[in-house]
């Protein structure tokens, strides 16, 4: 595996919805700039333990070696890990739910309101990006987005192409659904080439929608983002600047109030 990612610069931001604490944020991100691997995910609000699932997805993706790992090769073990992590103290319940002939048996210890989430599993959108030599490879389920900017122009947009294509029920990767079925039907792959100076932006849906709206209106939204990641500022300063900027957009109602994740990568 070529260490072509060496030299990539990156900065990452993650913020909860306005009014929520960071520990309620269901977005996740993972960065391994040295190996050129990046991932973001957006856990679905209606599934408890979705933040955990989103985190497991991104961490595992950046740990993989293949540019575009096959879902069937890495998802099953990840689903097992999700299950182990949430299992205690509900192992009896989950064991009974795994056996088809014994669907009715349950542990009395599980509060009724945790049961649907345990049975159904957790869900998240996913976007992974890998750099190798002069190419990039991306893997996506749902509406977390990648934008590639070169010499002041937006040259690639993946997987959502237009701001109007966002909905609040995107495709999702499940922690208890078939690892073959979900990604095969709804997982998208994309690759492209990169040149020195290219900037890549990874964003979860709310910010990605803002980005596309701006771009569709003829603006260059990355010019608003660039000062926030200015390499001369310390990470603390950058985080504060980003949080203040997001708050401003939300207060002006230009950004839907949702968890926000941004990873900026410079080639």
């Amino acid at each position: 595996m070529a260490l072509s990612g060496v030299g990539l610069g990156s900065r990452a931001f993650r913020l909860p919805r306005q009014g929520y604490d960071l520990d309620e944020c269901q977005d996740a991100l993972a960065v391994d700039a040295e190996r050129g691997r990046f991932a973001i995910a957006d856990g679905a609000a209606e599934s408890p333990h979705a933040a955990l699932w989103a985190q497991l997805l991104v961490e595992e993706f950046v740990r993989q070696n293949d540019p575009l790992p096959r879902w069937a090769n890495w998802l099953p073990s990840l689903q097992d890990r999700w299950l182990s992590a949430i299992r205690s103290p509900y192992s009896a319940f989950l064991a009974s739910r795994s056996s088809s002939e014994d669907g009715g048996q349950r542990s009395a210890d599980v509060p009724w309101y945790l049961e649907p989430g345990l049975t159904q599993g957790a869900f998240a959108t996913f976007l992974g990006l890998v750099f190798e030599d002069n190419s990039w490879y991306a893997l996506a389920v749902g509406d977390s987005c990648l934008f590639q900017v070169r010499r002041g122009e937006l040259i690639r947009t993946f997987p959502i192409l237009r701001a109007a294509d966002f909905s609040n029920a995107p495709w999702l990767v499940g922690s208890r659904t078939s690892p073959i079925e979900v990604p095969n039907k709804n997982g998208l792959q994309q690759y492209g080439e990169c040149q020195p100076g290219d900037r890549f932006w990874l964003m979860t849906d709310a910010l990605a929608q803002w980005f596309l709206l701006q771009s569709e209106a003829g603006a260059k939204p990355w010019l608003s983002l660039e000062p926030l990641i200015y390499p001369g500022s310390s990470d603390d300063e950058a985080q504060h600047a980003f949080a203040a900027w997001i708050e401003g957009l939300r207060n002006e109602r230009r950004l839907r109030n949702d968890d926000v994740t941004l990873v900026a990568i410079s080639q």
């Binding site: 009014g19 929520y20 609000a45 333990h49 669907g103 009724w112 079925e181 979900v182």
Partner: protein
């Protein structure tokens, strides 16, 4: 823009259900041989509360994003949650989750992942029992709603506007509720006016109607009156309703006729939703 405030622990909103418990509710729904209207309403409300709780589950806890109350109106107008919550007016959703009257088991059909369906036993909490006695003091119930919601707005002035859901067969016996409903709709948070939605459970055999945009197609005077009392669906709810495949227009109101109101809970934006259509 109204109806965009965040619903969160630090800025919760309020759901207040007004439930007709008059004697006429003991009649059958939908034209003769169906279930009692009171049973249909109790079932609908319990499922609505179930859905509401599930939208607040975080890890192993329930976050208090909603405060919930149920007022029954029939022989008396009074709080109608049962068990440990009896006499309570507004209850944080976490407390509601932990204190149902009882938890029943129901068989649901679910996908088996191989193209078929299997029966799965699902636990269904019950907070509210069917009842039917006395007349239909809907005006008095709406007056109580004004008091309760005003109190909530004082404590949470920036909240997403409280939603009052009235479930009835529509035959108020203590006057014309339209005026009181109008007063209720004049209460507002900084984020917009209080919403009043009506679920009309009727003995009429007419077809179910969801979120109509005109009273002309409605089957009777009671339905038309409840329609007029109902708030317009806020834009974000309209969008969610469209995405759920419902036919709605900018004039659609929070009114259903012999149909389930549980969907309105799903139309509230508290983040990325899990749409069963999109899981596979």
């Amino acid at each position: 823009m109204p109806y965009t405030a965040e619903i969160s622990r630090s800025n919760p909103t309020c759901f207040l259900f007004l439930v007709d418990q008059s004697k006429s509710m003991l009649g059958p729904i939908g034209g003769g041989l169906g279930n009692k209207k009171a049973d249909v309403v109790a079932d609908s409300l319990n499922r609505l509360l179930y859905t509401l709780v599930l939208r607040c589950v975080w890890g192993q806890t329930v976050l208090d994003r909603f405060h919930v109350g149920v007022i029954g109106y029939g022989r008396q107008v009074r709080p109608a949650l049962g068990g440990g919550l009896a006499e309570r007016v507004l209850v944080p959703i976490g407390e509601l989750a932990r204190n149902p009257l009882r938890v029943e088991q129901r068989a649901n059909l679910v996908d088996d992942g191989r193209g078929g369906q299997v029966e799965q036993i699902v636990r269904s909490p019950v907070w509210f029992e069917a009842a039917g006695d006395g007349k239909t003091p809907m005006c008095k119930a709406l007056e109580q709603a004004i008091q309760i919601v005003s109190g909530f707005l004082l404590e949470h002035p920036a909240c997403y506007p409280p939603l009052v859901v009235n479930l009835s067969d529509g035959e108020a016996t203590d006057g014309n509720p339209e005026e009181t409903a109008k007063n209720l709709g004049e209460l507002a948070s900084e984020d917009g006016a209080v919403l009043l939605f009506n679920g009309h459970i009727s003995s009429s055999a007419s077809q179910a109607i969801e979120f109509p945009d005109a009273e002309s197609g409605l089957p009777d005077d009671y339905a038309r009156r409840l329609f007029r009392m109902s708030s317009l669906l806020p834009p974000a709810m309209l969008q969610s309703a469209r995405q759920a495949g419902l036919t709605v227009t900018a004039d659609s109101r929070g009114f259903v006729f012999n149909a389930d109101l549980a969907s309105v809970v799903r139309f509230l934006d508290i983040g990325t939703r899990v749409d069963p259509k999109n899981l596979r």
